[in-house]
Amino acid sequence: MRPVYLHGRSLASALGANLPQALAAISAGGKAPLRVSLAGGTDWPYFGIDLPEANWRTRARQLIRAAISEAGLESCRHAPLFVASSSFDIGAIETGQARLNDSNGFGEEVAALLEWQGPVYLVFSACVSSLQAILAAYKLVATGAVDDAVVLGVELFNRFSLSGFAAMQLLTPGKPQPLGSGRDGIALGEAVAALHLSSQPGRWRLCGGSNLVDGRDPTGAIPQTVTQMCNQALAASGLAASDIGLVKLQAAGSPANDVNELSGLTAAFDPLPPLVTLKAAIGHTLGASGAAEIALLLACLETGIWPHADYPLDPKLCAGLARSRPESVRYILADILGFGGGHAAVILEDTYARSG
């Protein structure tokens, strides 16, 4: 196995059209979610991307092209492309701009749009889709099958997902408060994020990760499986729990799932490393969340611009969120937990933080 590095990255989210805009928005205190009305007169927060364009497909094309460009991926068109999403083009289908056909059509449309020459895979495993895509791409580069691979997380507005999460009573009526004492649900959001994995050395090394599906709960996290996920990710990366200097949480503001995640992490780490969550800033971007949050996290770590919670944390969780960028972090574990029993984590190394 050879080392794998993260090179180009990009993010369009509620915080802005690209990563510099996202960092500027975090510096300015973040952005409030929009409100979206659903049938029955209900009204929900939603972290939408500020790009007014009535045609779903046209908007998707603009955002995807911009993400590929921001990540500098125009020269990688022969690499494998992993498109990760939980909804693909359901937003176009529900508005009559596309027919319900087969999901691969969206991947082919993206490939044609980008004039992609390499193989295209669609990862369709709900919230953990992007992390599974990163792990698949990682293995291809690490084993020498390819020198480069690209992960594109795409989650764009659709009433289908919003209605479904509302029906399952998983949404907050106000603002999401991950680990907060008043947390009462999640808020969904849009994101288009690209990550370039390469064998060429760079600052951020992808050390390994784990992906576990547990059938005991099809909608939530299992504490013991969270612990196993961490242990497997550490073993795959050749690291000990004490090496991890920061954990990027799934934490989305769910009353039960945040507790389960913390419980599983506490069993894996003693003491818990500093924690960070990005879902109060960009919402839960479902299938794109793994790529979106890693792109944003690395930008935050490089610049020192740091998201902070503007709400009281739950003292019962016995866990705080890092108020600023932790000093001298070398290894970071980033996890996503989701529908479908998904528990996935990756570990990243800041090679600039290597001692000696």
Binding site: V123, S125, V128, K139, T143, F160, G164, G215, F339
Partner: protein, 195 residues
């Protein structure tokens, strides 16, 4: 790259499942699956049939499970779209409309926990190659499941030492999944097969 080799230890018929496949699934499971949707039931039917064919009562924890479904749970998706179109406040079928729900249904029925995902590609040979590159020394359970037309095709592969048989480069997925193919090997340029 290492020449990881697998033996095909079980597979289902490539044809359409029998009309009474749901009844057969109930008998096989010993209970009627509830609220998991048609796609997940079809996946269960095929996966269990494949494991029976492989003479396995369960799935080892280190096996890689990959499911491909181009159409996904179309009946549940259509139902949710209709509910949204009619401005009904709560799409009750939402969970069943998520293709990923196939994974916990399989994990629960097989009393299994491990590396599973839903990955799609029009080219099944590419998917099989990707799975092999992910699995390395581990085994695989690969399934192609569709509601319309009804299909649940599964292959179980176990890691093995390279047999003396001569390998050739696979030219199609049909060749890879043919009854006369018994071994897959990860070659330099793609998947290789042997009788």
């Amino acid at each position: 790259m290492n020449n990881f080799t697998w033996k095909i230890t079980g597979r289902t018929s490539a044809g359409t499942p029998p009309e009474n496949w749901r009844d057969q699934l109930v008998v096989r499971l010993g209970y009627r699956p509830r609220r998991i949707g048609i796609l997940a039931e079809l996946a269960l039917y095929g996966a269990l049939d494949c494991l029976d064919n492989a003479k396995e009562s369960g799935l080892p924890g280190d096996v890689l499970l990959r499911v491909c479904s181009m159409g996904g749970p179309v009946s549940a998706i259509s139902q949710v779209l209709e509910q949204i179109h009619e401005d009904l406040p709560q799409p009750f079928s939402f969970l069943q409309s998520q293709t990923s729900q196939v994974l916990p249904a399989l994990a629960a029925a097989l009393s299994w926990q491990g590396d599973a995902s839903v990955v799609m590609s029009r080219n099944s040979m590419n998917l099989a190659l990707l799975a092999g590159q992910q699995a390395e020394r581990c085994g695989m359970l690969l399934g192609w499941v569709e509601e319309k037309p009804c299909r649940s095709y599964w292959i179980r592969l176990a890691p093995c030492t390279t047999p003396t048989s001569s390998f050739i480069a696979a030219s199609s997925f049909e060749e890879m999944s043919s009854e006369s193919t018994h071994y897959w090997r990860l070659g330099r340029t793609g998947m290789e097969i042997a009788p």
